[in-house]
Structures are given as structure tokens and as C-alpha cells.
């Protein structure tokens, strides 16, 4: 029978110092690192960790405008909301509130179609700009312009152009002898309209990123492929696309997260009353918190769900890419 002290595994190693001593030693050696990191930790704590923790907490309560704490000058009204456990999540995920699944479906459609058009159009433009054409830098500047326009400004301008009576699109259609289209009224057309604006706004970023990627592919690979008699399509498939993979992976991930949470376009383009079928999850969560009836708990629940979905997506997406990388 062995005793603990006789165990060779522990006997060989010198006894480890206690946790406190180790921390003290580490502090003595690396105190400047701690001191330098501290401001960042504090700022992140104040700006991110605290609100996030508070959001998680609120999503387990029934907090709304009437029962949260208020500080009205000298009078202080204490909070009277209660802890309700997973009630909010249950109500949302079971479909009892009737809003979550239709909005999730549309959010996914919106994200996928936007990112698809962002990437394909961005890639196409980048390929064109990567050739030696006259006035190339002028084209680049012109194509990057939409990116310089703030989303809310672009949204208002497009909204005017989409106007069913005084908008330019219907004026052009009228000139061509076609009837007006109810761009922002018709439920299907308004979806097309908002996707159009977001694509217009997001293509320049993709274009610039892909252009950078294209320029990092060495011309030797193309020359070698040409020597072997590869057609332009084969060169594109077997040199360009694999060469772009690291850039593409990152911008598609980023684009997905940005588009999923793209707030101003749908919020400002359609207003509240008209967006019944075209609201995405973030705009809906905003309306819960700051719209007509302020439901803080409900908004927090939606916020946490959105965050969780994006986290899960990012993790799986990364894994999938890594697996492909290994397979190659």
C-alpha cells in the first residue's frame, strides 16, 4: 500500500509554492505589465463587461419602464422588478411572443443575401480594378465613395429616391412607360429595397479587401499556370480563389456579423409602423427597449440571444475553415 508521500510522481517534483506566493512573485517580476494593462482592463470592464453582465441579469427579470429604479431629483424610487428565471427565454424561444422566429428567418435571409452580393460584386469589381486600365485610380476613388457616406445619410437619400410619388425610380419607370412600383410599401419590394441599399453601402469594403488579397498573390503563380496552359477560368479557380482564401474568410465573417446587426438602414428606411415584416432582430430589440412600451427585460433577452447566435456562428465558421485548411 502506497502512501501519499511515497508517490514517486510528487516526490520527484519540488513542492509548489502557494497561490499567494506565486502571485506575489509574478507581480514582483511583471508588475509593470500589470500596471500597463490595468487601464485597459478597467475601461473594458466599465464599457463592456458591466453592461454585458447587467444585460444578462436583466434578461432574467421582468424589468420594464414602470418598475425600474428612478432617481427623480431628491426623491429616489426603488426598483420593484422581480427575478423570473428563464421565463423570458422560454417565452421567446417557444415562439409564444410570436415575433422571434419570423424575424430570425428574415434576418438570416437578409444577412445571407447581403453578404452574398457584397462578396460577389466586390470580387468582380476587384478583378476589374486589378488589371492595368487607364484611369484606374479614378475608378477606385469613385467606387470607394459609398463607403465614405455615413449609413444614415445614405439611407435618407435612398428613401427619397424610393418615394412612391416623388422618387426618382418611379419617375424613370414612368418615362419608360411602366407603372410605378411601391418600393417601400409592398412587403416584398421593401425587402428588395433595403437589401439594395445595404449592398450599395457594403460593396466598397469588400472590393478594397479583396483587391488587397489579389495583389498579394504573386504573379509567378499565374505565369506558371499560363505556361502549363491553364485557361483564364482555370487560373481563376485554381490560383485566384485559393490565394484569396485567408482574406475572404475574414471579410465574410466580419460581413456576416456586421450585416446581422446592421441597424440604421432598416430602422430609418421604413420607420416603425411600416416595417412589420421587414424588421431584423436588432431593430426589434431596440424597439422593445426604447419603442412604445419600454420592455427592458425583453430587449435584454433578445440582445443576449443575438450575441449567442453570432458567437456560435463565429466558432463554427472558424472551425469549418480550419478543417478545410487541414484537408488541403
Amino acid at each position: 500500500m502506497k502512501t501519499a508521500t511515497a508517490d514517486p510522481a510528487t516526490a520527484v517534483r519540488p513542492a509548489r509554492a502557494g497561490l499567494l506566493t506565486r502571485m506575489k512573485r509574478s507581480y514582483d517580476r511583471h508588475w509593470y505589465a500589470w500596471a500597463m494593462v490595468l487601464p485597459v482592463v478597467l475601461v473594458i470592464g466599465v464599457l463592456i463587461a458591466y453592461p454585458l453582465g447587467r444585460g444578462v441579469y436583466l434578461s432574467f427579470t421582468d424589468a420594464n419602464e414602470l418598475n425600474v429604479a428612478k432617481q427623480l431629483g431628491a426623491t429616489e424610487i426603488p426598483a420593484t422588478y422581480q427575478f423570473v428565471g428563464f421565463d423570458n427565454y422560454w417565452r421567446v424561444l417557444s415562439g409564444a411572443d410570436g415575433e422571434f422566429y419570423p424575424k430570425l428567418l428574415w434576418t438570416v435571409v437578409w444577412t445571407v443575401s447581403c453578404v452574398f452580393f457584397h462578396y460577389t460584386i466586390g470580387l468582380g469589381l476587384a478583378l476589374l480594378l486589378n488589371r492595368k486600365v487607364r484611369g484606374r485610380s479614378l475608378y477606385r476613388v469613385l467606387l470607394i465613395l459609398p463607403w465614405a457616406v455615413p449609413a444614415f445619410v445614405a439611407t435618407y437619400i435612398w428613401r427619397m429616391m424610393y418615394n412612391s410619388e416623388s422618387g426618382i425610380f418611379n419617375a424613370v419607370l414612368g418615362q419608360l412607360g411602366m407603372g410605378p412600383v411601391d418600393w417601400l410599401g409592398d412587403t416584398f419590394m421593401q425587402k428588395v429595397a433595403v437589401i439594395g441599399v445595404n449592398v450599395w453601402l457594403g460593396v466598397p469594403f469588400m472590393m478594397v479587401a479583396v483587391l488587397g488579397g489579389l495583389q498579394s498573390i504573386s504573379s509567378e503563380q499565374y505565369e506558371a499556370a499560363e505556361m502549363d496552359g491553364a485557361s483564364p477560368w482555370q487560373r481563376f479557380r485554381h490560383v485566384t480563389l485559393p490565394g484569396l482564401r485567408p482574406v475572404s474568410a475574414t471579410v465574410i465573417l466580419l460581413g456576416t456579423i456586421w450585416t446581422f446587426n446592421m441597424f440604421p438602414i432598416i430602422y430609418l428606411m421604413l420607420g416603425e409602423a411600416n416595417a412589420l415584416h421587414s424588421e431584423i432582430l436588432v431593430t426589434y430589440a431596440y424597439r422593445l427597449a426604447f419603442g412604445s412600451v419600454r420592455d427592458y427585460a425583453g430587449a435584454a433577452t433578445y440582445g443576449i440571444l443575438i450575441l449567442s447566435m453570432l458567437l456560435v456562428f463565429a466558432v463554427f465558421y472558424r472551425r469549418m475553415l480550419n478543417r478545410q485548411e487541414v484537408a488541403r
Binding site: 425600474v68 428612478k70 424610487i77 410619388e165 409602423a273 412589420l276 426604447f290
Partner: protein, 426 residues
Amino acid sequence: MRRGIAATALVASLALAATACGGGSEDKAAAGGPVTITWWDTSDATNEAPTYKKLIEKFEAANKDIKVKYQNVPFAEAEQKYKTAAQAGNAPDVLRADVGWTAGLAENQYLAPLDGTPAVKEIGSFNQGLVEGAKVNGKLYGVPQVTDALALLYNKEVFAKAGVQPPKTWAELSTAAKTIKQKTGVDGIYLNPDSYFALPFLYGEGGMMVDTDKKKITVNDPAGQKAVQTVVDMIKSGAAVKPDFTDGYNNMQAAFKDGKVAMVINGPWSTADDLTGKAFKNKDNLGVAPVPSGTSGKAGTPTGGHNLVVYNGADAPHKEAAQKFVAFMTSAASQEFAATETGVLPTRDDAYTVKVVADPIRAAFKNVLADSTARPAVAGVSDMFTEWTKQYIEILKGNATVEKGLDTTAQKWKTSINSLKEYSVE
């Protein structure tokens, strides 16, 4: 020495965090000095604001110890902005609140009751219906500043050309609209797809949004369905223009001002804007008539308007100054001044002086007002319109039947409006 640096870094970062949290405190008046109160005005910044600024100058001249800080806040965002500020304890001392907001803000304890304060000394001279509308549980939370009601505004020239008279019923209106379109090519009527503008149809059928006595949501009863069906039929038959659902109000105004549409239903606040249009270069061309009546034989229009309310979180000197300011702004002289300068309608009977009613548009609106109906006295009535408008638009687009849209509205009201939780739904 080393530790000293670490400590300094720690202190510096803590100070940074502390300043990040410490902003936004209100300046409190030093004892004896003048009290500065803030007023959030939600009126039109170009047409109305200059008049109110002039009134503030008069007030400050009469009250040397009070200064007023004027801030114009767009109407559409004022309620949400005020709620956020009030919860954090730094709301303005005085707010010009839509009559529909008052009960909801009072329910949240943001507003100070005004009974027995200098603000309501002359309350007996006000239109008592409006005063009742500013009360919650018997306590008065606002002083009516201006009032309004919806009327039928029309283009007299087009009417003369088509040979039609202002219609008395919705059926007559549809016929008139078709005649106008036939004879002049001008569209008949533009209806704003906002549920507030559906109220004349609802009242015309003898319906109402909720029955507060029976604690019942009645918007979806047969009268309500008939009312909305009338709107749907008018759009379908071409008597009314198919509205734009995002910019309905602006497109309505643009079409009316340019003479592209002969009639609209709108309130007195819009007439100043109408008169800037090319169709109304001659001011007399703008006709004002009561809204047509429905099949019940009666016409009905909602009472709108704005109250001045005082913030509950202000300290005693600020509250007192705010009450004095409210009394001044709602005095007969101030209301007469505002009415003649901007065209708004006074809330007290003694402000309808000869000068005020001399204007034909205002005189016509005064008649319309006499028959107007107050909105239901429940907290959150502005939220009710938000929910209703969503469904109203669905109905007008043809995505939902009248019955289904109104039933959904009633259900939404019951589940999301606190004060309607105990109401029954038809």
C-alpha cells in the same frame, strides 16, 4: 519607487473611470441667484418657435429672478427622449407634451401634480374638457397650451371647377372625389395611413377605441370594422389616392400644396404649411369644413393638442419657477399672441378674442373643435396608436382583412399596454 509608479498608474486609471461616470449632473441654482429652468418645446422650429421665444423674453422681463433656457426638440422623438432623461434624473423642468403622452408620463411618476400651485390659478377659464384630459386619478398633471382637431381641408378653386360642395358624409365625399377626378383631373382625397387619422371614420360609425366604463377594448367591434372598411373601399374605388406607407404624411402635404389632390383630413397645425404651397398662394383658396359623418349620421373628430407639464424630479425653487412659467405661457394674453402669430388654437375661452376669430381658418377650426371627442383617458394611449398604425397599414396594403387587422390590434393592446391588461377583448 517602482511601487510608486504602479500606484500612480492605478490612481490615474481610477480617476479616468470616475470621470467617465460622473458627467451629466444638473447645475443647481446657487442660493439667491436667478433660477434657470429648461423648457423643451416640441413645436415647429421654423413656424412656431420664434413666437415662443418672444414670449420667453416677455416672461423674463416680468420675472427678473427666473431665466428660461429654450430648447426645441423634434416632436417625433421628444417623448422617448424625455422618458430617458426623466429616468436618469435630468429631464427639463418644463415639457410641451402631447395630450396623449401626459397620462403615461404621470403613470411613471415623471410629472409633478399641479393642483393648488400658481400654474393652475386661472384653470376655471380653460375649456374644462381639455382640463379633464390632463388629469390622472383626479390629479392635474398638465396645463393645456394649445388644442386641435382634425377637419376636412379642401381646395376651393378645384371644388368650384368641378361644381361640388363640401361633402357631409363619407358617401358624398366618395362621389365628390370621383366628380372632381372626372372634371378636373385632380385626385379626390389623400388619406394619411396613420391610425390617428382613422379616428373620424371610427367616431362617424359611433365606435370608439376602448370603453373605459365597461373596461372593454372596442376598436374591433362592428362599428370599428365598418369604419376601416370605409377607408379601404375609398382607396380601392379610387376616390382616395393609394397612400405612401413610409412618407404618407409628407406626401399628403406635398400633393395638397401643389394642387394635385383636392381634399385632405388634417389639423390646424398644418395650415401654415399649406399656405406656403402654390395652390394656396391666395389664402382664401383653403377651405375648412367639419369632417364628414359616417352611417351613424354623426361626425366625430379627435381632440388633440399639447399640455405644459412640470418635471417631478426638479427641486423646490425650480418647480416653483416652472409653475410660474407655465401660468404665463398659458395666460389669455400669451395664448392670444401665439394664436395670431402662428395660427394655433387657444385652450381657454377668454383667449378667443375678436382678433383671434377674425381669421377665417381659425374661426372654422373653432367650430370643428366644439364637437371634438377627447382620446380615451388611459395611460399609454400614444402606444396604442403605434400598435394600431402597424395593423392599419397591413389592412390598407391588403395583407390582412379588416377584421383580422383590428382583432390583432385589440390583442396587442391587451398584452402590451399596462393600463389595458384587465380589459376584455370583443
